[in-house]
C-alpha cells in the first residue's frame, strides 16, 4: 500500500494493482440482488476480526430500488437500516470507499440463509473490477479456472478523452457437470477508466461459487511494455 498517497489523494485506488474478490478493496464493487423479504444481519470483518455490523431490511414494494453499503463507513456504531425493495427487484451495492486499514470481508445472512458472502460469490451477483494500471492483467476464476485477459491501454485513443463506458464479461459454466468456467469475451482491451462488470453463473454443485483474482502479467509505462515476474512464469506472450 502506498500510504503517503492517502493524505493528498484521499484514496488508495492506485495502490493495489492486483485484486481478489475475497478481500474487498476500493477497486471492487459487488452488486447483489435481494431475495426474500425479511431482516438480515451484516457482519464486516477487517483482518479477520469483526469491524462493524449492520442490519438490512428487505421490504415489499414500493421501496428503494438499491441500497449502497460502504463497508468502511457504517454510519452508527452498531447498525443502520438499509431498506431495499423486495426480492427480485432490489439490489445491494457493496463497496469500500476507504481501504487504508486493509481489505474487508462481508457476510449478510439471516436464519433462513446467506444473502451474500464475498468469499463465496454466486450467480446473479455481479462483480465490478476497476483496473487502472496500464499493461496486461489476467482475471482468473480460481474455482472454475475461467480466464480473461484484460489489456489496459492508455494510448487508445490518442489523444484522450478516454472512453469510460463499462465493459461486461460473463463468467459462464458451460457444462454443469464439470467444474470448469470460462469467460466471455476472453480478452478485452480497454482504457484505464473503463470499469469491468463480471456477471456470475448460477450456483451448481460442481461450481458452487466464484472467486476472482487478477494478476498483473505485463506493465506498460509510456511506450514500453514489459513482462512482470508472473507474466514470465506463465510464459505470457505480449
Amino acid at each position: 500500500m502506498i500510504k503517503p498517497g492517502i493524505s493528498k489523494l484521499n484514496s488508495n485506488i492506485f495502490a493495489t494493482t492486483e485484486l481478489d474478490t475475497s478481500q474487498l478493496t476500493s477497486q471492487i464493487v459487488l452488486v447483489v440482488p435481494t431475495q426474500k423479504q425479511g431482516r438480515y444481519r451484516g457482519v464486516i470483518s477487517l483482518s479477520g476480526a469483526t469491524a462493524a455490523t449492520f442490519s438490512l431490511a428487505v421490504l415489499p414494494s414500493p421501496a428503494e430500488p438499491f441500497a449502497i453499503i460502504d463497508l468502511s463507513d457504517i454510519p452508527s456504531s452498531d447498525y443502520t437500516f438499509n431498506v431495499v425493495e423486495m426480492a427480485g427487484k432490489g439490489n445491494l451495492v457493496i463497496h469500500v470507499s476507504d481501504d487504508t486499514e486493509g481489505p474487508r470481508a462481508v457476510q449478510v445472512a439471516n436464519d433462513s440463509g446467506l444473502l451474500v458472502d464475498n468469499r463465496q460469490l454466486t450467480g446473479n451477483q455481479q462483480v465490478i473490477l476497476n483496473l487502472y494500471r496500464p499493461g496486461v492483467h489476467q482475471v482468473t476464476d480460481l474455482t472454475g479456472g475461467g480466464q480473461c485477459t484484460i489489456t489496459v491501454n492508455q494510448l487508445l485513443p490518442s489523444p484522450p478523452p478516454w472512453p469510460t463506458a463499462q465493459i461486461t464479461v460473463a463468467v459462464q459454466q458451460p457444462d454443469p457437470t464439470k467444474a470448469a468456467t470460462q469467460m466471455v469475451p476472453s480478452s478485452v482491451t480497454k482504457s484505464p477508466l473503463q470499469p469491468l462488470v463480471f456477471t456470475l453463473p448460477a450456483s451448481t454443485t460442481t461450481v458452487p461459487n466464484i472467486h476472482l483474482v487478477t494478476d498483473l502479467l505485463a506493465v506498460t509505462d509510456r511506450f514500453r511494455t514489459e513482462l512482470t515476474e508472473k507474466g514470465r512464469a506463465r510464459n505470457f506472450r505480449i
Partner: protein, 298 residues
Amino acid sequence: MNDLTIAISAGALEDTFGALIEIFSFQFSKSTGGSVQFSINVQCHFERGQMTLMPPDPASLIYQGGYFDLSDVVIKWDRLDLGVTVHIPGVNVGGFCLLPTPWGCAIQIPPTTLFDVDITATIPIDNIVDSRLDLGVAPVPTHVWNSDLQTYQWLLVPHVVWQELQLLDIADTVADLIDGLITNLVNDALGFLPDWAKDIIDELVGGLANLIRGLLSLPTDLQAWLSNLLRVSLDPFDFIVQLVENYFQNDLSLYSLNDPMAVLPKQTTPVALPAVTMPITNVSIDVDATEVVIGVTS
C-alpha cells in the same frame, strides 16, 4: 537660552543614523485568507539611502516640525518566499449507472472521490522584487522612567512621522516563477504517484496544472498581479515600517540624559559620597538643514 547646548552636524548624523538603519533585521510571516491562500515569509534588512535634514516648515502638509528625511532606503531581502495554498475540489472516478431505466437508475455504482484537499507550494521571489522606502523620522524629546537604572531620563526618540513605499519593481521573469510555483503545487498533489497514475489523474481533471491555474485565477499581467498582492493583500511593507517604529520607540534612542543629571560624579575615597545632581527642566530640539541642536536647561 539653554544651560547646555549640543549640536550634531548633518554629516555626523547621516553616518551614525545611517549605520543604525542598516543594523535592523526583520523576520516575519504573513498570510491572506480566502479560497486561495497566499503567504510570505520575510527576512530583510535595510541599506541606507540619502539623509537630509529638513527644518521645520509650518506650511508643510506632511509634518510641520523638523525631521530627518531618509529617501531611497533599500529593502534588501534576505529571504522572501511566496507560498500558495489551493484547495483542490473532489474529483470522482469510477461511478456509473449499471442499470438505467426509464424511471431513473435502478443500480447506481458509487464513484471513488479523489482530492478534496489543500495543496501547498512555496517559491522564492527575493530576486524579482525590488523595493525602496522613503521615511521621515522626527527626533522627539521624551521624559521617561528607566527602571533598570532607577532614574528618570530625557530621551531623544526617533518617531516615524511619515512613510512612503516607492513603486515596486517586479522583474518580468515573474511568469517563469509562477510556472515553477504551479509545477511545485502539482508535485505536492501528485509527486508520490507513479507516472501511469499521474496520467490518469490528468485525464480525469483535464490537466492538474490547468486546474490549478484556473483555481488561482491568474490574470495575464502577472507583474501587476504580484505587485498588487504584495502591496495590498500581503503588505509586508506596512509591517516592516511598524517594526521599525516599534524598534525606534522601544529600543533605540538617539541621545539620553539622566534626570537629574550628575554634575559631580560619586566619590569612593576618602569617604564614599553620592554624585551631585541637578534636575533637568527642559530638553528642546531644533532641526535645520545643516545640523540638529539639542538644548538642555536645568
